[in-house]
């Protein structure tokens, strides 16, 4: 793939994104001239760019879109939702083409029919009301109301020289099909830089050709040589696909029909052609074959058989093949005996292996292949890159991992310094190493900071797809929704943004599907008919906060409780006990879906628990508040960056482990005497609250008891897991380090108790625990 093509792909996606954004903005402000001009420019530029490459399918659709926009911009056609629908569909098609170009799976010819269809749909919007004005203009020609099939008629067939026809007929076993191609260039094709003669003459395997005037030539005085008035007729041995590929820029000017040679036999016989005696004989024989096939069990079938046999005999005698005559007679006898044509047909078959050629009429299926509309695609799959420099993401990722490695290598220096002092007894050297370390440390920290800045992506990359999503869903459901996006410029690490995308789409879908009511219901409830969905992003300390608020019907805790109980998500005791707030949060329970019926939008029972787990995987959290009739508020909180993690190192059973700092509330030393057992669970009282304790060794299935220090105190790491505090008993606490957390791969990936591993400065591997999973293990 050439760099310019890559650039086209990435720019093309940006254009598509901005086109669909503008289309939706226009729906709100259909009279915004500025916006319309912008839209026109985007479509125009994209079309122009596509013309640089060999993508006629794309150019064709974009060209039609551009023409449509021109009509709309000039105020000849009002902007409407239906129009936007078609344009959006067409843009989806273009996006699909771009995807295929990127994966290099495209053979654009496959989409020629779709592209014609989309172009025709777009043109139909303005060609129909505008018909008188458009008549005679190229637009009228472009509308392929199924290309009029101008098959090969008998007259034309007979104009082809007899020797050629005879040769084709004789050769029809080798090549059962020839194509009849009529290419009628549009009158102003010269102005598009086309040279139809050149184009036609480049078609391979042309057996016969004719160039004729499409309309009678005008007198020389009025003759305009720059209006193409020619019609190219060709007979070619190419396959249909080859012809379509060759003429892919002008499919609407092309008619392709299969010449069924079988059908041509009669046409040849109808004339008295003196030439090509052999071929004529062959034609006669083929005609007999057709006759024989039509023989039924009627009274006169015996006569028919005899007639056919007599004709065959005459042919073979005339052709100097008298040796065949006895076998024909024998076959005829057999036929008459069985009163079927089979023996003669079999005989003919042995002489003339025609095969059972279906006597089909000229097959006329020029371009109408089953048209599969491309599935509607979520808008905005493109990634908005920086305005100044476009760099491959993989390069940034690589740079980041290199910087990560350098940070780890740098962490080795303090170890070296202490070795210099303890092993080699040189304090001087140790101090120098340490000062050098300080310098490298500063640079490394800065580099890390910069790479983080580079990786920062605005949340708008995720948000930008919502207007389309909201529009499509609300139109589908017949709801009215005003989508408000706030804080789109808020930035977070690329990985975090990517992790956000799917959960957010899920939440927005849920809000639209289950939250916001139908206009009639809303009005009955005293709310404006148009629902409001606000998605806002903001930064709070080192976290990104995404709020999704709707003013829909909210979640009814009573309904939640009942449903959860019915579905066995909670038991009876829990049903009695849980608060309304907890009940609402049951939406996050696995296997819970409140949708009355499963729609194709949401409500498959895999909804919110997937959201929660996706967010938690990115070290984030979800909270949900809802009041009946007022609306629902979901808040996602994610770290700004997932690249660097602070972990606390703890020691247990002579090993060290990392615990993510964002889970650690505090570290306490509790005298062993303060530990009590409640129902065989260890607990202690911490600031007048009961604190359950779990031993890390026990959770890791190690039999060793937890060690205590000289003062007979246990070390408890208080962590917060889903809003609950828990003390994890370890042997000792160590320092807090910054690490680059690498997820576990391969078999280790399945061990949920660890969230990953990291390299420490001394080269050893630190396993980082995932306390949430650990606790649910044991």
């Amino acid at each position: 793939m050439t760099p310019i093509l890559q650039q086209f792909i990435s720019e093309g996606r940006e254009f598509l994104q901005s086109i669909s954004e503008k289309l939706m903005q226009l729906e709100r402000a259909p009279n915004d001239v500025e916006l319309m001009s912008d839209l026109f420019r985007s479509v125009h530029t994209l079309k122009g760019n596509s013309g640089l490459f060999d993508f006629p399918e794309m150019s064709r659709v974009l060209h039609a879109a551009e023409d449509l926009m021109t009509v709309v911009r000039d105020g000849k056609l009002p902007y409407s939702a239906a129009l936007a629908d078609r344009l959006l569909d067409a843009m989806d098609f273009v996006a699909m083409l771009i995807d295929e170009i990127e994966t290099e799976t495209t053979s654009g010819v496959d989409h020629a029919a779709d592209s014609l269809k989309f172009a025709a749909l777009l043109r139909a919007l303005f060609a129909a009301p505008d018909a008188p004005a458009a008549a005679g203009s190229p637009v009228a020609i472009d509308v392929p109301t199924q290309v009029p099939v101008d098959g090969l008629d008998t007259t034309t067939w007979l104009e082809i020289p007899a020797d050629l026809r005879a040769a084709w007929l004789a050769d029809r076993n080798a090549q059962p099909e020839l194509l009849w191609i009529v290419y009628t260039p549009e009158p102003d094709c010269f102005f598009k830089g086309e040279d139809p003669l050149h184009h036609a003459s480049q078609l391979p395997d042309v057996r016969w050709r004719r160039i004729a005037a499409a309309k009678p030539w005008a007198a020389m005085a009025e003759f305009d040589p720059y209006q193409c008035n020619l019609r190219f007729e060709m007979v070619s041995g190419c396959t249909r696909a080859e012809v379509q590929e060759h003429f892919r820029y002008v499919p609407e000017q092309l008619t392709i029909a299969v010449i069924s040679l079988e059908d041509r036999v009669e046409a040849t016989l109808a004339t008295q052609e003196p030439a090509a005696r052999e071929a004529a004989a062959a034609s006669i024989i083929a005609a007999q074959w057709c006759v024989l096939r039509g023989v039924g069990s009627a009274d006169w079938s015996a006569g028919r058989l005899r007639a056919a046999a007599a004709t065959l005999e005459a042919c073979y005698r005339g052709g100097g093949h008298a040796e065949c005559l006895p076998s024909i007679a024998a076959a005829l006898d057999a036929c008459l005996a069985e009163s079927t044509a089979a023996p003669l047909l079999a005989w003919l078959g042995s002489q003339f292996p025609l095969g059972d050629v279906a006597a089909t009429a000229v097959v006329t299926a020029p371009l109408s292949r089953p048209t599969i509309a491309p599935a509607p695609r979520a808008a905005g799959e493109a990634v908005v890159a920086a305005k100044t420099l476009k760099v491959d993401q993989a390069k940034i990722d690589h740079l980041m991992s290199l910087i990560g490695e350098m940070v780890v290598a740098k962490n080795g220096l303090p170890f070296l310094a202490s070795r210099a002092e303890t092993v080699y007894g040189s304090r001087e050297l140790s101090r120098e190493i340490k000062s050098q370390h300080a310098v490298i440390n500063r640079i490394a920290a800065e580099m890390q900071d910069v790479i983080m800045q580079v990786r920062m992506t605005p949340v708008s990359t995720v948000f930008q797809r919502f207007p389309r999503l909201a529009r499509d869903i609300s139109r589908k459901l017949g709801k009215q929704v005003a989508l408000v996006l706030e804080g789109e410029e808020t930035e977070a690490d690329k990985n975090v943004i990517e992790a956000l995308a799917d959960p957010l789409i899920h939440i927005v879908r849920n809000s639209l599907d289950h939250g916001i009511e139908l206009p009639a219901v809303r009005i009955a409830a005293g709310k404006p008919a148009e629902g409001r969905l606000v998605i806002s992003a903001s930064q709070l300390a080192d976290r990104v906060i995404i709020d999704i608020r709707d003013d829909g019907k909210g979640i009814d805790p009573a309904v939640m409780k009942r449903k959860a109980y019915e579905k066995g998500v909670i038991d009876e005791a829990t049903l009695e006990r849980i608060s309304d707030r907890e009940a609402i949060n049951l939406v996050f329970a696995p296997g819970f879906s409140t949708a009355e019926e499963v729609s194709d939008l949401s409500g498959r029972g895999v909804g919110m628990d997937v959201v929660r787990s996706a967010v938690e995987r990115a070290n984030g959290s979800v909270t949900l508040e809802s009041s009946v009739g007022v609306g629902t508020h979901i808040r996602l909180s994610l770290p700004l960056s997932m690249a660097v993690t602070n972990v606390m190192i703890v020691e247990s059973n002579h090993q060290i482990f990392g615990v993510p700092m964002d889970m650690v509330l505090e570290t306490v030393r509790v005298p062993k005497t303060e530990v009590r057992a409640i129902k065989n669970r260890q607990t202690t009282i911490l600031r007048d609250r009961v604190m359950p304790l779990r031993s890390l060794n026990e959770m890791l299935s190690s039999a060793a008891p937890q060690r205590v220090n000289e003062a007979e105190e246990i070390a408890a790491l208080i962590v917060q897991i889903q809003g609950q505090s828990l003390g994890i008993v370890v042997d000792d606490f160590r320092e807090v380090v910054e690490i680059i957390l690498k997820p576990l791969t391969g078999i280790l990936n399945g061990i949920a108790g660890y969230s990953g591993s990291a390299l420490l400065g001394d080269g050893s591997v630190l396993m980082v625990l995932n306390p949430k999973e650990l606790v649910s293990w044991a």
């Binding site: 040589p225 720059y226 008035n229």
Partner: protein, 78 residues
């Protein structure tokens, strides 16, 4: 290369582009009975072919290039 005109014979050489159309028409006005020599021609633009057809200009020499000849005869001889 293009077109060269010698009295009432217009000779085409190599590939002749659409820009020669005006020249051909101009020559034709002066020499309504002119002929064309296509022997050295390898390709001529469709617009020129249209002029040849519409004005029924006799062909003095067919192209040596068999490919082009077959296309031109398909147009002009009918």
């Amino acid at each position: 290369m293009g077109m060269t005109v010698k009295k009432n014979i217009a000779s085409f050489h190599d590939s002749v582009g659409i820009e020669a159309t005006e020249e051909l028409l101009g020559w034709l006005r002066k020499h309504p009975k002119g002929k064309v020599n296509l022997a050295a021609c390898t390709h001529l633009h469709t617009a020129l072919l249209q002029v040849l057809l519409a004005a029924r200009i006799p062909v003095a020499a067919w192209p040596d290039d068999q490919g082009l000849k077959s296309w031109l005869t398909a147009a002009i001889n009918i």
